[in-house]
């Protein structure tokens, strides 16, 4: 078949798909958690062989809906029809038997086991005694068929993120999945890896598989999907919209958010001052004693934002941990306002006016089982005016201060005695951001500051970070959201396998150039700018 013919046939198929046979219909599905409504009367119809986008903001209820379909949650109301028959799916096992496969946003793999062990885990065709060799052969044949070669005997912890994702897809195919749910599949990939994934998706649909593609990224949906269902606040905002009828991304954005949105954060030109953070030839090992940072050097001046782009796991965490004293550097120098800060204790580093919005607020940034005021005094509890003579905490002052801080940073809460764990994700993040900015840092380290937040909270936190810059703070912004890095940063460095691949001024930044660097390909043109 010549290339020309192939293209034509793909187009024909695409036409057919929209009109094709229905594989899945969800009717008026609702899901409540206690009083919180995650899905309300959602309708979704998916046609065999199509790529159907499920679009929505963080918290719009996309994953919840798919977890209902996959049998992880029981729906509060509604019906599900699969291949025309009404089904009640109570467990993932049932979903798998029906031919539904799901690749979760956080991979459901077991790092300590080999790839093939992960594939056969829970597979109903296994004998009492495992025949891994036979399974590996079937698996290898299949992976070749779809062009996703993976060594079945590798332990999953040794696989790259992209390989792990392919393993997840193969795991579903091994169970004869016909309908494949991909939950935010591109979140952890470089732009080039995304292209690769799209190729795989095209291959899969050619083989007759159906894909539900969950995303909040508009461009991706325009590229790969046939039809699109938009969720907003748990309800359907648009159902089964053919993607070819959509004029531009802004139209989708409006459906998703419900109002016209300015996708860009306003920002004036930076007025850099003196050097605040100086990092010279820093190397470090990760907790598995592997080289995580290799000879990293950069500077940040007062009043500028340095963005760190890169795919998750390329040394960003280790860089931040070295800067904040949480792990030692094996080599190099770090100076904050001219003071040597390499391998000092976190306490000593905090003394130099460093604030840190950590990557995982639940795990690190707050104590869910403590109340708000106890969370607010976390960083400064051991000094005036939080505590006074004799090591006693001054709760009345902390109370008052906490109330001020909550109103200043728009933390919505019944009171400062409320447990932090009871706040919504956005309010939790505002709490952490408020606490850190309130310290008026000279150096602000912000890691994934908007991860998991809705657009409103994201915009708020991003503008606060820009305000900090304008106040004269040096800001290190680490994010895997390329748009966020490109919007906020004055300069961008790209980390790949612990090395800086290049530095780009904001005005020269474009997705392609950054994407190549993120994939570890040094492009002279990209650097020249």
């Amino acid at each position: 078949m010549s290339e020309m013919n192939q293209e034509v046939s793909v187009n024909e198929v695409k036409e057919d798909r929209v009109a094709g046979k229905e594989i899945l219909r969800m009717v008026n599905v609702s899901k409540h958690f206690a009083q919180v409504v995650a899905n309300k009367d959602v309708n979704l119809t998916v046609v065999e062989g199509e790529v159907h986008a499920l679009l929505g903001e963080n918290g719009a209820g996309k994953s919840t809906l798919m977890n209902v379909l996959y049998g992880l949650y029981a729906p509060s109301a509604g019906e599900v029809y699969y291949k025309g028959e009404k089904v009640e799916i109570h467990s993932p096992g049932q979903a798998i038997n029906l031919g539904i496969g799901m690749v979760h946003q956080h991979f459901m793999l077991i790092p300590a086991l080999s790839a093939i062990e992960n594939v056969v885990l829970g597979y109903e065709g296994n004998g009492t005694v495992l025949d891994l060799k036979a399974a590996a052969k079937t698996f290898s044949d299949m992976s070749k068929q779809y062009g996703m070669a993976i060594d079945p005997w590798m332990r999953v912890e040794q696989l790259s993120v992209g390989q792990q994702q392919r393993l997840e897809i193969l795991k579903a195919l091994y169970r004869d999945a016909e309908l494949l749910i991909l939950d935010e599949p591109t979140a952890v990939l470089t732009p080039q890896e995304v292209e690769n994934l799209f190729d795989i998706i095209r291959q899969l649909t050619k083989e007759g598989k159906t894909i539900i593609f969950i995303s909040h990224k508009l461009n991706e949906i325009m590229t790969i999907c046939d039809r699109c269902t938009v969720l907003r606040n748990g309800r359907v905002a648009a159902e089964g919209l053919p993607v070819k009828d959509i004029k531009n991304a802004n139209q989708l954005a409006e459906l998703m958010v419900g109002q016209t949105v300015n996708l860009k954060t306003d920002k004036s030109v930076a007025k850099p001052g003196e050097v605040v953070l100086q990092v010279k030839n820093v190397s470090a090992l990760n907790d598995r004693k592997l080289q995580a940072l290799n000879d990293v050097s950069f500077e940040i001046r007062a009043g500028e934002i340095l963005g760190v782009a890169g795919v998750d796991g390329n040394g960003q965490s280790e860089l931040v941990k070295v800067l904040t004293g949480l792990i030692p550097a094996s080599e190099g120098q770090v100076r904050i306002s001219g003071v040597d800060c390499i391998n000092k204790s976190p306490k000593q580093i905090l003394e130099h006016g460093v604030s840190h919005i950590p990557e995982d607020r639940q795990k690190m940034g707050m104590i869910a089982a403590m109340n708000l005021r106890e969370n607010i005094c976390l960083m400064e509890y051991d000094r005036m005016p939080y505590s006074g003579k004799g090591g006693l905490l001054r709760w009345s002052w902390i109370d008052e201060h906490s109330r001020e801080l909550c109103s200043k940073y728009q933390v919505r809460t019944p009171g400062v005695q409320e447990l932090a764990g009871n706040l919504s994700g956005g309010n939790q993040q505002k709490l952490v951001v408020g606490r850190e900015l309130d310290r008026e840092p000279k150096l602000l380290i912000a890691v994934h500051p908007s991860r998991g937040l809705d657009i409103g909270a994201t915009k708020y936190i991003q503008s606060r970070i820009v305000e900090e810059r304008d106040r004269g703070a040096a800001v290190l912004l680490v994010s895997t959201e390329l748009d966020e890095v490109m919007d906020l940063s004055d300069r961008i460095i790209v980390l790949y396998e612990g090395e800086i691949m290049g530095t780009i001024e904001q005005k020269d930044a474009d997705r392609n150039a950054l994407g190549l660097l993120m994939a570890g390909i040094k492009n002279n043109e990209a650097q020249a700018g």
């Binding site: 958690f33 206690a34 009083q35 919180v36 904040t324 004293g325 949480l326 204790s345 976190p346 306490k347 000593q348 580093i349 905090l350 840190h356 950590p358 639940q362 795990k363 690190m364 940034g365 707050m366 104590i367 869910a368 089982a369 403590m370 109340n371 106890e374 005094c377 976390l378 960083m379 509890y381 051991d382 505590s387 004799g390 090591g391 006693l392 905490l393 709760w395 447990l419 764990g421 009871n422 919504s424 994700g425």
Partner: protein
């Protein structure tokens, strides 16, 4: 104002719900054991137990006396738990505190009371603290789980006691019986109220509880311990020294238990013997701490309750055919039902979703323990 009062009342009732249900369920199941192993009806058995524990001033006096060591060992477990450490070694820390107190008590018979008594108490505290320090150091230095090391140290403590009462501090006057010489008057804690057996140890126990409260909730050091206990990652993020916090909490934990052991010898038993620790002080302390949700007031109330159980059990055994060991069963069941309290959850649904979704398991466990 009125509103906040009513919330306080509902909160108070809510906090009492689980402990009360746990006790009732434990007594009910315990009655099955009584039926199976004796000819006494559970009602008669429990009645004599209750009368023996709270039936009159004399009985209550005895209950108070029995509660004192439990309050100390409960504080020991609770202090460590607040910092995320499971201290199963209060048993051994209690014994070593008793041993050190006894050694100081019998070694300086000529000291005046105002020196001798404080020295004895300090020795008891330090003995327990040292014995609490060992598993803490092993944990932070070698990663040895405190679950096993603390228990192993309990057995080691038992052998140490045996060694000392058979050797170095064996009473030369009482021929070959393995026990220490009696504690001299200068190192003894006197009675609190004339005519009653309850002694100044009760005041010390309440002071220890007060210290526990003030330290954990009013001071920087205590705040650090609680942060580390609830979320060590947040602790190191905020620049706290996790290892030092763990060591500090175990020094206090061991010290509390040691002080309790010392007081038990110098106020009640009068000399150290092989049988001084026939009652399982350390493990009863765990039940007390759990039932009291590691709260200061809760520990005092639960301590009294278990003191009563201990006291009433002897009465029950004397008056009926039910074995006093039934109390051990009830105590174990209280632990199970308090730890597994969610099985009694009422379907109020309050914040249930957010909590199960948002709070990691460590924190969830602490849910009931918030003030």
């Amino acid at each position: 104002m009125k509103h906040s009062l009513s919330t306080k009342v509902t909160n108070f009732v809510r906090n009492l719900y689980y402990p009360i249900v746990a006790i009732v369920a434990s007594l009910l199941l315990g009655s099955l054991v009584i039926i199976a192993t004796s000819t006494t009806s559970p009602i008669d058995a429990y009645r004599s137990l209750f009368v023996g524990a709270f039936g009159g001033l004399r009985q209550f006096d005895e209950t108070l006396l029995k509660a004192i060591p439990f309050i100390f060992t409960a504080l020991s477990f609770a202090m460590a738990k607040r910092c995320g450490i499971i201290n199963l070694g209060a048993e051994g820390q209690f014994a070593i505190g008793a041993l050190m107190g006894t050694i100081v008590g019998v070694s300086f018979p000529n000291l005046p009371l105002y020196l001798h008594l404080p020295l004895t108490l300090i020795a008891g505290f330090l003995g327990g603290a040292l014995f609490g320090l060992i598993p803490a150091v092993l944990k932070v230095q070698f990663g040895a789980s405190e679950l096993i090391t603390t228990i192993m140290l309990n057995y080691i403590a038992k052998e140490l006691i045996s060694y000392f009462v058979n050797g170095p501090i064996m009473d030369s006057a009482s021929s070959s019986y393995p026990q220490s010489a009696p504690i001299p008057e200068t190192a003894r804690l006197g009675r609190l109220i004339p005519g009653m057996r309850v002694h100044w140890g009760l005041v010390l126990a309440l002071l220890a509880v007060l210290f526990y409260y003030v330290y954990l909730w009013k001071t920087k050091g205590g705040y650090e311990l609680r942060v580390v206990g609830l979320n060590p990652h947040a602790g190191s993020y905020a620049g706290m020294n996790i290892k030092r916090s763990i060591i500090r909490s175990m020094i206090f934990a061991g010290g509390f238990a040691g002080l309790g052991g010392c007081i038990e010898i110098i106020a009640v038993q009068g000399r150290l013997m092989m049988t001084s620790f026939a009652v399982s002080y350390g493990f009863t302390g765990i039940a007390v701490a759990l039932l009291g949700s590691n709260n200061p007031v809760g520990i005092v109330v639960a301590g009294l309750l278990f003191g009563g159980l201990q006291n009433g059990a002897l009465k029950m055994q004397a008056m009926t055919t039910a074995s006093s060991s039934v109390v051990l069963v009830v105590q174990a069941l209280v632990i199970l039902f308090v730890a597994g309290r969610l099985m009694f959850r009422l379907r109020t649904g309050r914040y249930l979703k957010q909590r199960t979704l948002a709070i990691p398991p460590v924190a969830m466990d602490e849910r009931g323990e918030q003030r």
